[in-house]
Each structure stands twice: as structure tokens, then as C-alpha cells.
Symmetry: C5
């Protein structure tokens, strides 16, 4: 579903990659102009030579390497854990439906199975809206049995409510003799797993990296770039602005990506396509019970976020 980007070594050098460069352009232009001024006055200021040389930049550089490396790893770990959790949601949804089909004696076309499937699908959408602080009602109304939807409207934390509905479905099947105690426990284990997924997403969402890290890193990077032309002008001369902007570009872009990945459930360009993943769940589960899958046009608009 997700298309791989072109990877030609020459092409990649000059591609205008839309996600980070545009927002950096004004800042980099500012820095370019500033570097040119520094070069023109040759590092002097009101007849006073700015006594900077490359030496302290190695010291700065160490601090930046420390911060940026740590920040980036921590952010990417959050991003990748978020991806794993949504992957686990796809896996777990399939497992639960498989169990509903093979551990109970319900027919795969029975209304009970359809109800279970619809709640499972709604669960994914409810989690998405929860994480993006958007209104889940439109998505839930389309999918949930109307009786369940009505009750869901007044609930603040919808994923937990829907999970409880799934548990109740299993309890009812047990009372009606459609599943035995062992089967119930096997499904209960997967419901536990569902709890763990919701909890993991909440954790990533509600606990950002300590803010102080971000502030410290940000200042170090930007002040580094601001002082850079003073340090390079003596040895590089007219090449200073080009080299300065290029070094600044890599550091600042790196910081910006790390910042986007930190909160992977948003709608920024480098965030996770959780909308597409909801659709994947809907498609696979519908296919498993022989329901019509969502139509392509509906799919189109979703694919990128």
C-alpha cells in the first residue's frame, strides 16, 4: 500500500523533499545573508576583530553530537515503538477475529460475528481519534451497531469502553454455551494484549521527552550555526556562506526530523500513517468474514496520514 520512494544516488542529491526543507528555508536564507555580511566585514565589528577560530567549535561539536545523537535515538525509538504498537493492533485484531471464528461455535455469517467484527474495527478508529484529539463519532456511527454507538457517545475514553464491549461479547457467548472456559481465557489473553496496546500508545502520547532536553539542544544547535561564520571566515574566505549553510542545514534538519518523530501519532509528514492502518484492519477483517471491503475512492484520501 505504501510506495517506496525513488532511490537513485544522483537524483537524491537534488530532490526537493517536501517534508523538512520548506520550513527550514527562511531560517537558512537568514543565515546565508548573515554569513555574507560576516564575510564582507571580514569578521570585524565596528573596527573590532571578532576573535573566533575553529578551535571552540570542536568543543561545541562534542556537545551537539551528545545531544543530537541522544535526542534522535530517543525520538526514533518512540516512533518505532508507536509503529510496533499499531502493528500489534493489526495482528491482535486478526487474532481475536480468528479466535471468535474458530473457538466459538458461531457460524461465520452469524450476526454475532458481524457485531464482534464491527466493534473490533471501531476500536482501531476510536484509538486513532483518541490519539489525534479528533471527534470519533462519524467513524464510529458508520461502523458500530447503533445501540452500542448510542451508549459510546457519553464516554470520554472510548477505546476502553469498546474493549469492555468485546469482553462482554465473550461473556455472553460463554453464558450461551458457544465457547468454553478455556476458549474464553484464550480470548481474554488477547484482550489483555489490546489493553497493552492502548496503554502503550497513551504512554508515548502523554509523556514527551523532557522538555528541557529539547530546549537545550535547540539552543546549542542554533547558536552553533550563528557563531559558525565567525569561526570559518578567516580560513575559508568567500566559501564561508556556502559551507556554513550546508553544515547548518544538516544539523537543523536532523533536529527537525527528531522533533517530528518524537510524537508519531500526529499528522506531520514524517508521522505514522495510522489512518491507513485503520483501513488495513477494516479491509483484512472484512475479507475474513466475507464482507465487502471498503471501496477504493474512500481509500484514496486516507493514504497519506
Amino acid at each position: 500500500m505504501i510506495q517506496r520512494k525513488k532511490k537513485n544516488w544522483f537524483y537524491m542529491l537534488f530532490i526537493w523533499h517536501g517534508s523538512v526543507l520548506p520550513q527550514l528555508l527562511p531560517r537558512l536564507s537568514l543565515l546565508l545573508v548573515f554569513s555574507m555580511i560576516v564575510v564582507h566585514f571580514n569578521g570585524t565589528f565596528y573596527d573590532y576583530k571578532i576573535p573566533l577560530n575553529p578551535a571552540p567549535f570542536t568543543l561545541f561539536g562534542l556537545a551537539i553530537a551528545l545531544f543530537l545523537g541522544f535526542r534522535n535515538n530517543a525520538s526514533y525509538d518512540r516512533y518505532w515503538e508507536g509503529r510496533k504498537l499499531w502493528g500489534a493492533l493489526v495482528i491482535d485484531s486478526r487474532s481475536l477475529l480468528r479466535q471468535a471464528l474458530s473457538l466459538t461455535t458461531y457460524d461465520s455469517k452469524s450476526p454475532q460475528i458481524r457485531e464482534f467484527t464491527s466493534i473490533l474495527i471501531a476500536f482501531a478508529y476510536a484509538l486513532k481519534h483518541q490519539l489525534r484529539h479528533t471527534n470519533a463519532d462519524i467513524d464510529l456511527e458508520k461502523r458500530l451497531p447503533s445501540e452500542v454507538f448510542e451508549r459510546s457517545k457519553s464516554i470520554g475514553f472510548k477505546p476502553t469502553f469498546l474493549q469492555y464491549e468485546l469482553a462482554n461479547w465473550v461473556k455472553k457467548a460463554k453464558l450461551e454455551g458457544k465457547i468454553d472456559a478455556i476458549g474464553q481465557m484464550a480470548m481474554d489473553a488477547n484482550l489483555n494484549q489490546l489493553s497493552a496496546i492502548v496503554g502503550g500508545c497513551e504512554r508515548i502520547h502523554s509523556t514527551p521527552l523532557p522538555y528541557t532536553y529539547g530546549v537545550l539542544l535547540h539552543r546549542t544547535v542554533y547558536l552553533y550555526c550563528f557563531f559558525l561564520p565567525f569561526g570559518l571566515v578567516d580560513s575559508l574566505g568567500w566559501l564561508t556562506p556556502i559551507i556554513t549553510v550546508f553544515i547548518a542545514y544538516t544539523f537543523v534538519a536532523f533536529e527537525t526530523i527528531a522533533d517530528e518523530l518524537e510524537e508519531p501519532f500526529g499528522t506531520e509528514p514524517n508521522d505514522l500513517p495510522i489512518n491507513a492502518m485503520c483501513l488495513t484492519i477494516e479491509t483484512t477483517l472484512s475479507e475474513m468474514i466475507g464482507e465487502p471491503v471498503p471501496s477504493p475512492p474512500q481509500l484514496e484520501g486516507y493514504i497519506l496520514d
Copy 2:
């Protein structure tokens, strides 16, 4: 519940972030004055030139990079594991209540379910007070059935006591025929999980990083900053104090954050909001059994620690 901080690149350069800077200010001011004195006497001391240059600072720098990188990663891992454990507590509390509701034949409005819920909620508060060495009695009295509270008063390690009460509740339900052996085992697995959470928190709390690491790092960082003006004064001149203080600020602030994160259950600004998490547990569990949720005013005061 937790609000994201503003992230504007320009704004972040000058924000006065309250958590670390204030405690560092006196030390940084001291260093500023000291650097100015060094510049004024131009690196001489009683007519004797201090023969320092940037060369040994690269060697120092390596040692600092080694220590600070290691220390920071280890501290952040502790912080993030602490967060995971409390996240698991939220997850596990919900799972246990879901099991009490769907694996037993108790009505969701029965006194037994209310008792189980109240012990689960009290468990979270008891763990919080345990980790912060504060008195749990006020919080437990409000939530526990008075008979259980009375017995809890003489107990040293309250979370284990309350967990044992939960196990007894399940045992009683089994003896009364409200849950079968399989259901009991499924709940027992989640009680095991509860033990693992308590044990994990205790582990982080009772085993700090080896103290020697902290002392070594501290000395390296502070002596580095103290020698820095001597090393920079020859090449940077009057810029020395500014650059010195800025480099010192990044290193010292980094060490300070690492120190705060090391023990994530305290009440320092960068510690985990475990009080808010207790309230989250209370709110979700109350919602699940249709009890009134804690009122907003009560919530207000808690949100930050």
C-alpha cells in the same frame, strides 16, 4: 491531560525554562565572573602565564563525552522504564477490573465489584506513597473499605498487602462459585503482573546508578568548565566569558537533567507525574463501573507532580 509545550524555533531560543536554569544560575554567574577575571589578567597569575591551550580540552572532552553519554542514557532508561511500569499499572488495573466484570458472574453494580475496584485504586496510591516515602493513610482511608483500611495500618509494605487482598477476593469468589478455576488462573496471571510492576519500581527506586559514576562525572564536568577560560583566552580574547558560560551551561545542564531523571519517582520538575497517573487510574476504573469520577477541583492541584 498533559499539555504539550510551545515549540516555535525562535521562541525556544529565549524561553526561560523553569526547571533547570534557576538552580544553575548562581554557578554560571560565578563562572562568568571568574572568566572575566581570567581575561582581565590575560591568563596570567602573579606574573606567571598559565600555559593552557585548547589541545588538552579535546582529551578532557573525550572523557566527558564518555561519561555524560553513558550517564544520560542510563538515567533516561531508568526514567522511561519507570514510565513504562506506571503505564503497565494503568493497563493492568483496567485488565483486572475487566476480568472481574467479565470472568465472574457478579453484577457490575454489586458491592463485591465496588470493593475490588476500591482496592485496585488504593493499590496505585499505596505504591505512590511507598515510592515517595510519604504517608499513605489519608489516601487509603478515603478509598478502602474501613475494615481493610484498619488492617492495612500496621503493615509496613502496603502494596503487597493490598495485592494479597485482591488475591483473597478472587479466592472468595472461587469458593462462592462465582468464578471457575480457569478464570481464577487468568486473574492470577494479572496479579503476577502487578507483582512485577511493584518489584520493578522498587528496583529502580532502591538501586541508584553506582555513586562513583556520578562523582567522577561531576568532577570532570566542573573542572573542565573551570579550566576552560584559561584554554580559550589566548585565541578568543574578550569573547572568552560568553563562550565559556555557554559551553558550561550545556554540559552542566545536561548533567543536571540526567541527575533528575535518574530517580523518576520524586517530585522534581522533570520527574514522572505519578500523582496524575493515580488519578487516571481512579477516573477510568470509576467510569468502567459507572461510579462518579473524581471532581475537577480535586484534579487541579494534582496535575503537575
Copy 3:
């Protein structure tokens, strides 16, 4: 099955290792010629001296170390996780067949066991074709019972379909009294594991590293190599082209390997031999039920991808 490559320290210095060098050769030749031109004009350009020295290369170098280190670790983790998942598939297939043999009362020569085995084997091939976007029909037709194969033809996501067939097989065995509820649950746990494997492979396959990382790294590496001769020519003279090409070779080759490992399920030289692993599964499972193993000639052609 996989042969270890020769490891003589002298031999390894001059081996022509076919996987990466050939594709890099044109670019490195280009760089060699370019460096020679730079040396010949001694870093001047239209009578204007290019004022580059080694100093800014340390700064560049830091950025490269940051990116390349991170990119390489992330790619290798993906590669190794992919390997673990396929290893888990081998393990899980064996476990499921062992359970079918020891937890049910079917005879090991019965048609039911053969059917179960054939679906398990087909499952691995279906996953391979899914990950490589190739047509699974030839492999499935050879292995699946024709009735199952017919139904599989219209299915988009075949591994899930086949897994569901396995679950149905267990359900049927339960209804026929060949396995008890406890045995069914034990097999269900391994079917959950199968879901996790499919989901993990999908995750790695469908979520590449954020594209922006690759672009940034690529640019930093190539521009670094392009500027390198200017920076070295003053101090190294006629040695510049050799040193330049050698440094460029290590960085560019490192980036290229990282790029190949990022998507481990393809057919590039450093990708995983998942075809060979399908064959391993087929061979072991056939041996376990006393079926003839696939003939060596068939094996030959597969061994490398």
C-alpha cells in the same frame, strides 16, 4: 546450508567482493578523475585559490558520524529483526506440526496430518511472495490441496487466509473429538505467534526509515567526498586522489550497505535468503512426517536468494 566465506587477512584486503563495489565503481572513478583535476590546478579555479583546509571537515565529519551511525544501526536492526522473524517462522512451523502430531490423536500418516503440513509449508511460500510482490500461485498450487488452492486464488492477503485454514483444521479436529479444549488452546497460542510473525514482516516491509533521513545522509556523504580533494590538496599534494577515493569508498560503501539492509526481504545481494528458508521449512516438516524431501536439483537454484 549457507557456506562461510574465506577469512584470510591478506586475501580479504584484495578480494573483489561482488555485492557493493561494482555499483560504486563508476562514481569512485568519477571522483578519482575529479581529484586529479583539483591536484593539477592545485586547488585554484580560474586563477582563484579555493580556500579550503581540513578544519571544516571535522565538523562535516561529526554530522556524517551522527547520520551514518544512526542509519546503519537502524537498518541493521531491521535486517536482524527480519531474520529473527523468519527464524521464528521456522521454529513455529515445527512447533505447530509437533503439536498436531502429539496433542491430537491423528496418526502421523493420516491425510489430515498431510493436509496440515501442506498448508503450513504453503504459508511460508505465501508470505515470501507477499513480501516480494510476486505471484504465489505456482508455489501454492504445487503444495496446497486443490480445494484449498482454488479458494485461495481470489484472496488478496494469502498468509492470513492460510492461517485461518489452520485454525479451521484445529476447530474441525476439536469437533471430531481428536483434540481437547486444552490442546486447542495450546495450538491457538502458536497460531497467535504466526500472526505476530506476519505482522512483524509487514511492519518492516511497509514502514521504511523516514525518507528524509536517507536524503540528508546521502547529501552529506556525497558533498563531503566532493569537497574533500580541495581540503586535502595543500597538505597531501599528489597523494590527494588516492586518499580521497579511499575515504570516499568507505563512507559510500557503508551508506550503500545500510541502504540494502534497510529492506531485508528483497533480492539484492545482502538481503535475507528467504527462499532458502522456505525450503528449510519444507524439508524439516516433510522429514517429520516421513514424506520425501524436495530433491537436490530443485534446491540448487534457490540457495542464494
Copy 4:
């Protein structure tokens, strides 16, 4: 139980931390005297100038950063895994006793429960003595039923023997109808966990880091420190001994801590307080069954190792 050390930034600069400095003092003094001699002869040796400058120290430094960073991370991982295993032992002991109390129909004051508790407590002490190569008999005699103790005396590997006694206890309870098959399996899962803890401790204890790593690192660090005064004397003059000793102190101390942490079950100052953890287990388990807890004086002597 474990008291946090004082953390005042000024105090920490001058604290005499007893665990590492004393053993390093003779070596550092030696280096100080050696550096002074080097300064006095100004880097000459029999009228021959030692031609060292800071340049090769950056190369050395890279090697040290590589080794020391790796060594330290690997050692700390071993230390922390050891801590996790003992934490898991505390958790698992509590869980097993909770299960013995809530899954069986034994009264909490019955001799069977007391016997089970005493074996669990003895298990922790047996593991401690196993890991420290000390004689377990005094500790076991005090705690075990005399009949079990007699049989334990001839056994080489006592933790496995005691674990088997626990399994037998459960088997007997099953045969007497005090626990059902499901309960037995739940306890068996925790006995598996106990095996994993013993095995993990054995693994860390019996497989040190490859010895060659230690030797290589040791040589690199000490030769680096020995050459350092030659490299610094030209630029630093009379400051050389101070700077040399300080840099040496950080590197050598870092290596020493890593060495201590590598084997975390010993009795060196930075090792794990496993004696205190045995006592924690004894205290909590005794409290759970209403037995008198070990008296404070006994506790006092144990707290530090």
C-alpha cells in the same frame, strides 16, 4: 532500606569516595612523580628530546573511547541484568507464596504454608552462597525444616534441589486434593520463572567478558597515561603533572568501576547488595504469613553487601 548519598554540587567535587580512589591512589601518585620528572628534564632523555606532541593522542583517544565505551556498557548491562534477576527473585517469591495462599485450600497458619515459606526463603540464601562460593549450611540450617536440611547437605547445587522441593510440595498438595490441576500449572509457571532466575545468575557469574577485551583495554589506558606527560609538556609546562593526573584519574577510575560491575555478585563496594535482598525476601514473606520478622540487630550487619 538503601539510603541515598548526598548530592550537593560543591560537596561532590571534594568528597573522598571510598570505593575507588584508595586503590588508585598509589598508581596516581606514581604517575604524578613520573610527570614531574618528565617536566623537570623537559621531555628530554639523555640529552635526546622525546618527540611526542598531542597529535597521536587523538588517535589513541579514539581507541580508548571505543574500548572503554564498549567495556563500560557491557559491564553495566551485566550489573543491571543481575539486579533485575534478583528483583525478579523478590517478585517471584512473593507471587509463589501468594499462590500457595490463594490457590490452595491450606490455612495461612498451617504447617504446610510455613514449610513452603521456609523453603522459599532458604532458596534465596542458597542462591547467594552459590554465587559467592560460600558455605550455605549456617543459613539453611536456621531456616529449613531439619529433615529437608539433612538431605540438602550432600547436594552440590542447592538452589535446584530446593526448587525441586517446592515442586514436590505442590505435587503433594495436588495429590491431597488441596489444589486443582489448573492451580498447579499456574504455580508451575512461576517455578519455571525461578529456574530462569537461577540460570540467568549462573550465566552472568560463569561467563565473564572475554578476557582479551580487558587486557587490551587495560594496556591502552595505562600506556596512554604513561605517554601523556611527554605529549603535554611542551605546551603545558609546569601544569603538566596536574592535568596528566586528572585525565589519568578519570580514565583509570572509569576502567576500575567497569571492572567491578562486570561481576555484580561479589562483595566489592560497587557490587549488588544481595545479602540485603535476601533479607528483604525473608521480611516480606514472613510478614505475609504473620510470622515475626527478623530482628533489627541481625539486619544491621547485613545492609552493605
Copy 5:
């Protein structure tokens, strides 16, 4: 069983550690002679001065740090995972025997228990021979019941065959009413674990690090060492050969250890003592059922590999 090596700081400086140094000696001697020649001609070649200085070595050094750090971490992870897997085999063998003793109603002296034990022990030896490509027959004949041994002779992949024998043993016990369904499932879970161990060892064994990594690293390290004397001769003079050989020694030795650890199941000096671990399993299991443990003389010859 494994004795700790002596750790005296002075002693460690001069110890002749046999595992790596001997194989490196010829290469290092070659480099020493080569460096002396370079010094003698003072870096000139046919009257032409080789224009190398320390500057490009920092760039080289970055590449080496990148490769060597990554390679070493990846190799050590493989080594340590291999160790964990064999540790898990020890743990799992004990757990399976404990279950055979406590979950079945067989007497601990019955022939069935002895048969089960012998297959478990043979399993470890079969895995060892599988990983070392040696003939398992001598070890298996001594331990297996002759009927099982005969059938094992024609099997290619013996560990899986023996594991299947264990599963059959449990199935037979179930059919004879010696174990219930729940007990069978508990043992089945540990048999799954056994599969995971075999699969993990196979994975490490059959998938080395991508070969290209090794080649690239090897070249970078050796060419670095070859160029080193040219870069140092101007500043270090007659000290060049000593410093060169020492730096080369650390880098080359580091690469050599990483190479040995990559495949931990071989018989090189730094590989895992899996023969000793087979013996540990044999000893502990024999002790558990009261069989005579293998005699010391037999033990002697095994202890080192």
C-alpha cells in the same frame, strides 16, 4: 567450573594472552620493520617526500570508529545471545525434568523417567554437534536408549528428531493416564521453548554478519595502519615505529576478537564453552534423578571448549 583469570593491574600490562597475540605477531612484526624503513628514509621515496600528515588520519579514524564500534557491538551481541540460548537450554532441561517428575505420577526411579532424562541429555549433545558440524553418533550412542539411537542414525537434523521423541514421551504418558491434559500443555510450553532455542542457535550459526561489512572494516583498519608511519614520522621521529605498532595492535586485535565472537559456537579460544555446558546439563539432570554423575577424568578433557 570456569576459573576467573588473575586481575592485577601491573600483571595485566605484561601478560602474554594466548588467544589473539600469537596470530597477530607476524603482521605486527612486518609493520614494525616497515615503520623502521619509513623512518630511516624519513618518509621519502626515491627522493620524493611522502606528503602525509596527521590531518587525514582523523578522517580515517572516524570511519574506523564507525565500523569497528558497530562490528564489535554486533558480534558481541551474537556471542551473548548464543550464551543466553545455551543458558536457556540448561534452564529448560531442568524445568522439563522437574515437570516430568512433579506433573506425572511416574516414580523418580522408573525406567520412563530415566529414558526421558537420557533423551534430554542427548538433545544438548546433538545440538552441539549440529552447530560444530561434527558427528554426534559417539555421544548419542552412549546416552540414548539403543532403540531410539538406531532410529536417530538416518536423521539429518537430530535435535528436532529428539525433541519430537520428548513430545511423544509426553503423549504416551497422557494416553497411559500418567499426566492430565493441563500437565501436558505445561510441558508442551517448555517444548516450544526448546524449539526456540534450537532455532535461535541455527539463526546465529547460519546468518553471519553481511560479509561486506567485514571486508570494508578489514581494509580500512589495515590501510590505516600501513599509512600511519608516513603520517607520524615528521612529528614523532624515531618513536614512530613504537607508537605505530602499538596503535595498530589495539585496532587489529579489536577487529580479531570481534571476528572470533561473531560465530560463538566454534572452537576458537574466545568461543563459548558449549562442551562444558553439555556436561553441566548431564551432571545436574543426573543428580536430580539420583543417577551417578559423569566421572571427573571424563570431565577434565572437556572443560576448555
